[in-house]
Subunit: 92 residues, 2 copies
């Protein structure tokens, strides 16, 4: 089974839209590398975290910010397909 | 554990966007009723199906069409929270 990416978001904070956007970014980039992306409304206020197969790779409260989409793709790429190039977004 | 809704879509058919839209509709309506919505790129051409906890409730090939969003919400409501009113969308 390919990895599943979970985006846990605080619905009361209004973070569904950005989470759905991130899901579409990840599914466009990692179509063949992941089983899917799960959008999971959190029961915890202010929660925004990203996990791959249950292992947390980003937490908004720990980081003090939301992830940049490029950073998020790099974190996920390193787990689901380390050889994959993310193209011009990785060039300086 | 609350139910998980899976949207399996054919990425080569360009159905990510409509699937992501449906996911947002379902998460807006069923925020407290579901664990989440999984967007799952299919390995099968032309596949668009909806499952709740692994039980298929809609299949594009069987139906010969995509589901209407109102119809999809009714099918899911009947499983995840049968008492829930879907509001004015159910009035004639």
């Amino acid at each position: 089974m390919k990895p599943t990416v979970t985006l846990e978001y605080c619905p009361k904070c209004g973070w569904l839209m950005r989470s759905a956007w991130m899901a579409q970014e990840l599914l466009t980039t990692f179509t063949d590398d992941v089983h899917g992306v799960l959008l999971h409304p959190s029961e915890f206020s202010g929660r925004f975290s990203v996990s791959v197969d249950g292992v947390k790779i980003f937490d908004r409260k720990e980081a003090g910010r939301f992830p940049d989409i490029k950073e998020l793709k790099q974190l996920i790429r390193d787990i689901v397909n380390p050889e994959k190039s993310l193209g011009h977004s990785e060039k300086k």
